[in-house]
Amino acid sequence: MEILFYIAAAVTFLATLRVITHVHAVHALLYLVVALIALSLIFYLLGAQFAAALEIIIYGGAIMVLFIFVVMLLGPLAVEQERTWLSPSAWVGPCILALVLLGEVGYLIASGDHPTMAVAEPRQKAISIALYGPYIIGVELASMLLLPGLIGAYHLGRRLSSEARSC
């Protein structure tokens, strides 16, 4: 448990360090995905399975895909740039860090040591009850935040396409 946590923490730290020091945006995003997955493993080890799943699905999946789409839209997609993005050396670092994480997950599964599995189901129930009980005002506020976010993103994206057509 402890050693798994420290390995995952080291992976998170190294990947984050590479994110803020890298010059290629796509490489930095690769490292950020690894950092998010390592952070999700840390959430799991802390006993927050639901948060770990959401971290991978929403952060590592949805938000990172959004980032990658925007990076692809930004630059002129020259062949040379593609070649540097897809060079094998760019994948070595994230692959090594991800393999470390894979080893940890394999060890967790093989050892059968799921310290928090027994309490997982009542915990999910408690989260749901608290979310729609005392925290209902927070859920309403989150929905009020998401709707302006949707409209704002649509507005900003729409004006871009109309201006490009006019000029």
């Binding site: 923490a9 802390l46 927050a48 980032f67 930004l74 927070g138 900003l156």
Partner: protein, 99 residues
């Protein structure tokens, strides 16, 4: 207990995000640094929830996730607009308001 090292890791990640935000001038990297800082805050909440055995930490994580999703969608739209108008992502070039 893993919550104390988790809090230390949250502090380190937040510091890294802050350093990235202050040192990088590319607006995309500033956004990435903001994401790192939000993640560090989420890790602090989860560690607190694990320490006290309460579910409030995970609920705050859900709210942080919502905030990050809304923030990223709007901010990336702004990034696209800026790159479309100024042909650069340098934050120092966006000085029309003379701030």
């Amino acid at each position: 207990m893993l919550s104390t090292p988790a809090l230390v890791l949250a502090i380190i990640l937040f510091g890294l995000g802050l350093i990235g935000l202050l040192s990088r001038r590319n607006i995309l990297y500033m956004l990435l640094s903001l994401e790192i800082m939000l993640n560090a805050a989420a890790l602090a909440f989860i560690a607190g929830g694990a320490r006290w055995g309460q579910v409030d930490g995970e609920i705050m994580f859900l709210f942080i996730l919502t905030l990050a999703a809304a923030e990223v969608s709007v901010a990336l739209g702004i990034v696209l607009q800026l790159s479309h108008r100024f042909r650069t992502l340098d934050a120092d070039a966006f000085c029309e308001m003379r701030g």
